[in-house]
Amino acid sequence: MRFPHFRSIALGGAVALLSFGVQAQTIKIAYIDPLSGPFANVGEQGLAEFRFALDRINAKGGVLGGRKLEVIGFDNKVSPQEALNQLKRVIDQGIRYITQGNSSAVAGALIDAVNRHNERNPGKEILYLNYAAVDPAYTNDKCSFWHFRFDANADMKMESLTTWMAGNKNIKKVYLINQDYSFGHAVKKAGRDYLARKRPDVQIVGDDLHPLGKVTDFAPYVAKIKASGADSVITGNWGNDMSLLVKAGRDAGLNVDWYTYYAGGLGTPTAMGEAAAGKVKIIAEYHSNVANNKAAKWDADFRKAHEKQKLDFYFLRGKIMWEMFAKAINEAKSAEPKAVALALEGMRHEGDLGEVEMRKQDHQLIQPLYVFTLQKSAAKGGPKEAKLDMEGSGLAPVTDARLEAYTSAQPTSCNMKRP
């Protein structure tokens, strides 16, 4: 009786040792984002895309001549406090890279914690790759050497969006509605300032802030928008706050154009349904029907691999982020965060939709952006460019304009402390 037991333990130990040996080679990245609760779907999407991207890099031989990359999920429940707890776990496990995107409130807490940790533990630094938290402060007065942002920040998106809006003479009265936290405030401020600069004739007829993720019935807000006589609404809302707002607008027969940041994925097209067709415009770095799309095959492969979960390819910036990350490790000839950070700074990269640059001054990626409209897909009688729809919702993105990288580049107040 004893023998087999002993054997299985010995075997288990040997396997553990073996896998330990393999893992020491693997470069791990902690993905600190919501994997449970109301925003779990958003977190799961990112994790699926990053696994897909890293698998591709590994399949091509990994980095530094054979080392693999691996992303590991840490659930932060979109809470800054929980994110810090997870960061502690990440540090305890000896992981040196983190990535996060959902909620700028969480990003702020992580930047502070990473700065503190790196100051106190030289030689054990953590590097933070931000793929979606877009509060402009993190590449301005709160910028950090240890933080790199691969998404265009809220101001950059607003710059491009208002540049496009400025050319549309039908816009006369604009209403702003945003979530009441740092990101929503940033959208609100940028929207007001940039419109005043580019189209002083446009009237701001309303400006609302509502709590993040707590409103179920947007009908009262819609009645207010209607009463204001607005023809266009600008909103940075995401998740349910986005879809419920558009749905309530349709129910009340509100005839406005929606200018949004995040109506283009993560369950929102499904929830809005055809109410959104022709009415919802989005500013982002990618959509599936974009012209000259070098990521088209990647997009199709991802959709195919995630057919069951009905996931679309959403984060082109994620793909670019991991490609640049792998390149930086190879250029630095080291997986040490400090060396990798120095290689990432100022890196130019041939992205799938044009060249991008990780600006050295503030660690902000400068990239081309698109304004696009959700239309009925070609299969449902929409325009023929509307080939691929989103989440099988019958809504497909169609480009209105491409805005080159320089359009959105902003001056920065960043005064970075370099190690």
């Binding site: 802030l209 179920t216 019935d217 349910n240 419920l244 027969g253």
Partner: protein, 295 residues
Amino acid sequence: MEFVLVQILNGISYGLLLFMLSSGLTLVFSLMGVLNFAHASFYMLGAYFAYQVSAKIGFWPALVIAPVLVGTIGMLVERWGLRTVHRYGHVAELLFTFGLAYLIEEAVHLVWGRVAVEYRVPPDLDGPLFTIFTSQYPIYRGFMMLVAVAMLVSIWLALTRTRIGLVIQAALTHPQTVEALGHNVPRVFMLVFGGGAALAGLAGVIGGNAFVTEPGMAAAVGPIIFVIVVVGGMGSLAGAFIASILIGCMQTFAVALDWGFAGITISQAAPVLPYLLMVLLLIFRPRGLMGTREG
């Protein structure tokens, strides 16, 4: 004028949906003394069942089948879960329902995934009901109000005009006597718990397509229905009705007010107002608007 009328209608219809949600909770509490933390999860189940059924055979059958299914689950939970836990007291019951809420949420994740499902308003009910000056009022909101009022009337009739209603009312205050008269009180409890769950399920059928059907929907309405039950008075159906309409209208109108102080406008604070009301009420009138028991 147009704005005020629309906001009143919006407030009332939202209030009525809140009432559908909280009526089951308050009924169960008044009879069994159980504060059911999983109540909002039954609401979510109602929405998901309705989505599944309406995809197969249409919305109208779903309107009946989904609440019945949820009610059955409620009864099973009472019979095989709560009743066993009951003898360990209220804290154990509370913890049980608390855990159940998490279980249901995870089950929903496993079965339907984490992304919103495509549960839509049926085409017959899609469109404007009437137009106030220039604002459309959707048919579906009217339908929501109709169902809620029908539900209110039938609960009231069932409780005051039927035999089982009388037994329930008697069991509320004198369970031993009712048992001595030969009625099966545990079964009454089971029926009431199932009924409460079914009411939440019905609210889910209606609310799921009016808003969004996704795994976070239970967590989104959970706190507010407790506020309604507390404000209305624990266990008072009439109180829950008044509190629902009050809170519905309060939130709706608060959104419209742009004046404020210290940089915060009333409209910004709108979703917090019900909680403020609850705190004030607990300080000045702990039994709630229509509640009978003190504290």
